[in-house]
Symmetry: C2
Subunit: 390 residues, 2 copies
């Protein structure tokens, strides 16, 4: 397990030890190590002079009050990295887990941004200064809660032309998670019809929103059943492509039966605990059905009853590719495809709330995500390229 | 869990409760239920008159001495079933598990046969009387340890023309298991190259033999590493397509490292315990790698450390399709494709031992399989269409 700046990971989120082939950037510095960056030089992009320092939001592990603005050296783009002037960001559950100290992260959180390319590393081929982009980024690097961040060009996609910065920032992490869930793990096809039923546990969250849209509008799965229990979450699920909703507070099998669904080919666990949901989903899974979960668990997975149906279980973790520096192009290409789908009106924004990027608003969104009641995506916009206290 | 003729399943092999949509044939009769078959009529095929009764081998749960010849009503073909005059059979670990009473089965065991179609049900379209076929069959039906058995035509393939009965009987169950492992679960392509590495735990067994041949000769996986520890098993693995062997009695990760293999895309667990091997394989699995196991386990699967790599785990169970009456055509088509590959010399016989079908030889093969030392497949031939004591 990695030891981060705030001590060893203590929660459910377990990282693999860094091994040969793993991106060296994962070797997060401990606080004891002195950090002497070569001072960045001021550079010019199409908009303005970029100063050698910038504002960013750091955290101290614990409650949301630990989120605070710092002056931070502006990173520089080397190798295949691009430097992006950030226009908007969104917040994901991974941010709150890092803030709680559940697993190690750079002191600057944030895994979603839309912005403008400000500088290109010498090996960059996909982008040029001034391009409008969106990306989720990587664990173990400075996050997007800042005025600038650097990111490997291969995991960056272009911003949909007809989406504003906030809408674009709502897409990458949940869009890529849903894409990898459905296309990588469930092996659904972009080129031909995909018969069957998809069941989404927690349909109204960010990944649930993206998965329902992709499943119904892009992959044309005829039946997309999302779990939701409140009128507003039910409405949001249906608006985003769910053909039916059921209540995750009640037994799933009887509700599926009432819908006339005998078995479910594709089962997405987007809310934990994973072992408990797996036990339920095995009962209604179709023979050779698939279960994918984004909710990490230290507990083993109870799969004994899945044998006779020859079921599969997959962990879905969008940050895995950048973590292992593995098949990075897949993510840039997927984001570009989703940008096209957004421009065609097939995908619609996942954002439900857009605010000015202030510490106060960031704290509120962390709290909303921790409540488990968030619907869609919450986005923060850097007005005048700035991050402020309130 | 099903209750079979010998009481409830008590072992590791756990069956799903019969549910709507599950083949009704799985509702195995309890000994208390009276059984009044309509007496079969004598019929004629191209070879001989078929009598209304036949010889079969029944078992009483326990040691191999419980295997004994009985006079059994000859089944008749109805619906999409064909009646097959059996020429050769092979034995699989599932036979020994049933015999030990670990899970319910018809009193006549056996899930591999090659033979001649003797009668066709009224809805049969794929076969005619006199066709030479091979099949694995289904749980919950009379098995192939008999002079005749009936089988759904959709899970039957044609016998390779240039293979004898014994060689043909060596193929279906392990061939289909390897086929479903590699093509269904690992999603490898028959039409384009499949880069990467396949690691086979227990390369010399029946499924390991079939998997190595398919992986190296058909799917063109460049590196196929089988575990084997004895000179004869190492030789057999290499003869069947393994590019390397390692010893499953020693830590796998260090041996893979010595071979220069940093990570493994495809991991096949063909020998238990599954949880223990999964823990080892996670360490060396490639990001988004796949683990498939044919070894059922009541214990949950320790997948916590698989999260950051976004790994998948699949149960592979060839008898699942017939059990759930689901996508049966897949198996008949796969067997036909393997017959063509056999005729082209791409696949070679999995049989290592061929004997006359006597009770004595059947008992010896059960014991060999239970020892865990079997290499390839053991086949029994019905000389003069007969089963004898010795």
């Amino acid at each position: 397990m990695l030891t981060g700046p705030h001590g060893p990971s203590c929660g459910a989120f377990r990282l693999q030890p860094a091994a040969a082939g793993v991106d060296a950037r994962l070797q997060i510095r401990s606080p004891q190590q002195t950090y002497h960056p070569s001072l960045p030089h001021p550079i010019t992009n199409t908009q303005s002079v970029i100063m050698p320092t910038m504002k960013a939001v750091a955290f101290t592990p614990g409650p949301v009050s630990g989120l605070h603005i710092i002056e931070h050296e502006r990173p520089t783009a080397t190798g295949r990295d691009i430097l992006v002037r950030i226009k908007a960001i969104s917040v994901n559950p991974v941010d709150t887990k890092c803030r709680q100290g559940k697993f190690p992260a750079d002191p600057v959180l944030g895994w979603d941004a839309a912005g403008i390319v400000a500088e290109c590393g010498p090996e960059v081929t996909r982008w040029k200064v001034g391009d409008e982009v969106m990306y989720a980024g990587a664990l173990g690097r400075q996050g997007t809660n800042a005025q600038f961040s650097v990111v490997d060009e291969r995991i960056v996609g272009r911003k949909p032309k007809n989406w504003d910065w906030a809408d674009a920032a709502s897409l990458p992490l949940v869009g890529l998670t849903a894409w990898e869930l459905l296309i990588d793990h469930f092996n659904l096809s972009l080129d031909k019809p995909n018969p069957g039923t998809l069941l989404i546990i927690n349909g109204a969250g960010g990944v649930g929103t993206a998965a329902a849209q992709l499943a119904s509008r892009v992959l044309k799965i005829p039946r997309v059943i999302s779990t939701a229990s409140r009128p507003e979450t039910i409405a949001w699920c249906k608006q985003n492509g769910a053909t039916d909703t059921i209540d995750h507070h009640k037994p799933l099998d009887t509700q599926l039966k009432e819908l006339g669904v005998e078995n479910v080919e594709y089962n997405a666990v987007l809310y934990g605990p994973t072992p408990g949901y797996v036990e339920q989903l095995i009962k209604t899974a179709a023979p050779r059905g698939k279960i994918g979960s984004i909710v990490e668990s230290d507990d083993p997975i109870p799969l004994a009853d899945a044998f006779s149906k020859a079921l599969s279980f997959s962990w879905v973790f969008m940050l895995s590719r950048p973590m292992y520096n593995h098949d990075l192009e897949f993510q840039g290409e997927a984001l570009d495809k989703m940008a096209t789908l957004a421009e065609e009106g097939v995908l619609t924004s996942f954002a439900t709330e857009k605010y000015k990027f202030t510490i106060e608003n960031l704290r509120k969104i962390h709290q909303l995500l921790e409540s488990g009641k968030a619907i869609g995506k919450q986005v923060l916009v850097l007005e005048d390229d700035d991050i402020t206290e309130a």
